[in-house]
Amino acid sequence: MRFMLTFCLLTLSSMVQAEDKFITIASTTSTQNSGLYDYLLPQFTADTGIGVRVVAVGTGQAIKIAKNGDADVLLVHHRPSEDAFVENGYGIERRDVMYNDFVIVGPKGKASFESLENALTTFASTEDYAFVSRGDDSGTHKRERELWATFNLSPQGKWYREIGAGMGAALNMSASIDAYTMSDRGTWLSFGNKGQLGIIIQGDDILFNPYGIILVNPEKHPHVKISMARQFSDWIVSDKAQSIIGAFSVNGMQLFCPNANPEDNINVVCPSSIPRTD
Amino acid sequence: MTQLTIENLNYTSDDARLLKDINISHKNNGITAIIGANGAGKSLLLSILHGLIAPTSGRVAWDGASATKGKNTRGYVFQKPIILRRSVRDNLAYPLKVQNHPKTGQAEAIDQMLELSQLSHLADQPAASLSGGEAQRMTIARALITQPKTLLLDEPCSNLDPASTKLIENMIHSFVAGDGSVYISTHDMAQAKRLSNVVFFLEAGQLLEHKAAKDFFAAPTTREGRAYLNGDL
């Protein structure tokens, strides 16, 4: 019995202390799954001695975590939600960090579409093509809903499957049932189980996918580590970090385009497949 | 020598009066047999004597103290052996442990009891592996290990063969030889005759006879007592 208690206390204490100089970032699965954080964050920790704990969830949930004050920094990709977050006083100092784009992926060689509008209209009118929707209130899901609305389409029916899961699950399902889905390019490129899937539509301006960083407002949540959070925000828009982001690639493909300082020439060439709307 | 006092003892369960107006004042250093037919109330009386069951009315006292007190000064053996899921040795050690006996001398006391109960060769076996007779010897040894003044035995030899019964009776005799007093309920008349010097004869919840064993067996005063001895009850 005494042994058990001692063991418990030791284990608990070893877990509590761990590291005390750290910040918590609420972010999206798309950045996490691409492997960007594993590549980028160790360099921040090396520069500043500050550890970074990333909680990667959908944009909707990430914003809720930040609203509750359970994170110090928010890094997500849905501009309207981000602006609302700041307007409502939950966040401060929003900055652009980087962007990539969304792509429509689907079974290669099944059908070809001349444009995004043509593809979506065909899906909705013929109902012959299965489309997997995230259905999880994530940034990608919100953007996908906006796409349909842009073309005055309201997808519903057996062909339109809202799975309420992450990007990976949506891709896994699409691969196994030969369905179409919308993915951010980063997750798509680093996804390991593509099967028969390939990019069907890309390059439309409307598929632009920018990421922004926001500090959680210390007036709302006095306990947030505002100075370390600001240090992180300053660092990620620095030329050094922006170059690292631009240099990050998976299988030889660049995943994100840094755009914190568009006027600076930081020597990053973004692939032409990623559209720029400056 | 312990004084047992029972005053106006009644026990009622579901409107059945299982014990009726029992009064006993008794001092005995030998063996008292509680006898009677099945259902006469022998086991119930024994349970009440140890304070395991509270009487509906009346009072039971040992040396003036209520039966619910001083359980440590008495040992109690159940008809069906209650076996702790431990080795024989640990079964014997258990009462010493829970009644906070001094640690020194425990091992010797246990060895002594193992010898008395002729279980030394089984000391480290799981008690569950014992035969019926061995198990009952173990529970008697477990009751005796705290050196009680009084030993209460509830039909300890029912379902046992004569050889096992003999071993148990030897244990009882050796306890009495050490100045202990014994109360044993039994429906085995021959055993009661062999062992006891005093008899409580119960019939239908009433104490009909309370006298020296030799007198009871020679000439019971009640009709029921005669019927019982004739094997008619």
């Binding site: 284990t11 918590t24 359970d70 891709l171 | 209650i82 009644q99």
Partner: protein, 232 residues
């Protein structure tokens, strides 16, 4: 079956990161099991022995808790530990501590119910003897727990197994933070979502091996316990 082959290669070439993940899994689940058992074993024994007030209520609550999906437990603990919640000021959301708390809550009703079940028949056997020996309530519980120890250890292993295999609660309260709160099950979820089925399967194999070892242990312990059981 090439995925399986690659997965086995990954297990065999386990690197430090994988080791850390497995280690954290074991540490969190073991601690949670110990915490849950310190509370649940005595209470389970008490529920088996005494008919006190709220006994039925406690039994009903604990049985219902057993049916709760881990996600709901995770959500409850999340709301409790969030900065916006009542225990927010401790700042333990997204830490291993939060995971331990969630798993303790998950394990508690299992250990409670199994302990109670293990002790009920022993209490039935022992009750008269313990009454006759006039043992104190604490001694009574200690005796029953000790003599039910094989069944109780089995209960603990069952709880440990559930904790180790659980993903829904720890991913919510731990946040699956790399190198900090990432355990085997959350890694499996993450790697599956990344389409890295080999790595996910490799971790699944490790988890399966541990579950297998636990079950062998359970089997072995119960066979040991049977020796002391009265069958008469």
């Amino acid at each position: 079956m090439s995925i399986l082959g690659e997965a086995i290669d990954l297990v065999l070439s386990a690197d430090a990161e994988l080791g850390g993940i497995v280690g954290l899994s074991l540490r969190v689940s073991l601690t949670a099991t110990l915490i849950a058992s310190i509370l649940a074993i005595p209470l389970g024994a008490a529920l088996a022995v005494w008919n006190f007030r709220f006994r039925q209520v406690l039994i009903v609550i604990s049985t219902s808790l057993m049916a709760l999906p881990p996600v709901v437990v995770g959500l409850m603990i999340y709301l409790l530990l969030s900065r916006a919640g009542p225990l927010g000021s401790y700042g333990i959301l997204f830490t291993p501590m939060a995971m331990i708390i969630a798993q303790s809550v998950l394990i508690f009703p299992i250990v409670l119910a199994l302990t109670r079940e293990a002790i009920l028949p022993i209490n039935r056997d022992y009750k008269n003897l313990l009454d006759a020996l006039n043992v104190t309530p604490v001694q009574r519980l200690k005796t029953l727990i000790w003599d039910a120890r094989f069944a109780i250890v089995t209960a603990l292993l069952a709880g440990f197994g559930r904790a180790l295999a659980e993903v829904g609660a720890v991913i919510i309260v731990g946040g699956n933070i790399a190198g900090f709160t990432r355990v085997m099950t959350t890694t499996i979820a993450l790697e599956t979502s990344k389409g890295n089925l080999q790595l996910a399967l490799a971790l699944g194999i490790i988890l399966l091996s541990i579950a297998f070892a636990i079950n062998i242990l359970i089997h072995w312990i119960s066979s040991f316990g049977r020796k002391y059981q009265v069958t008469r």
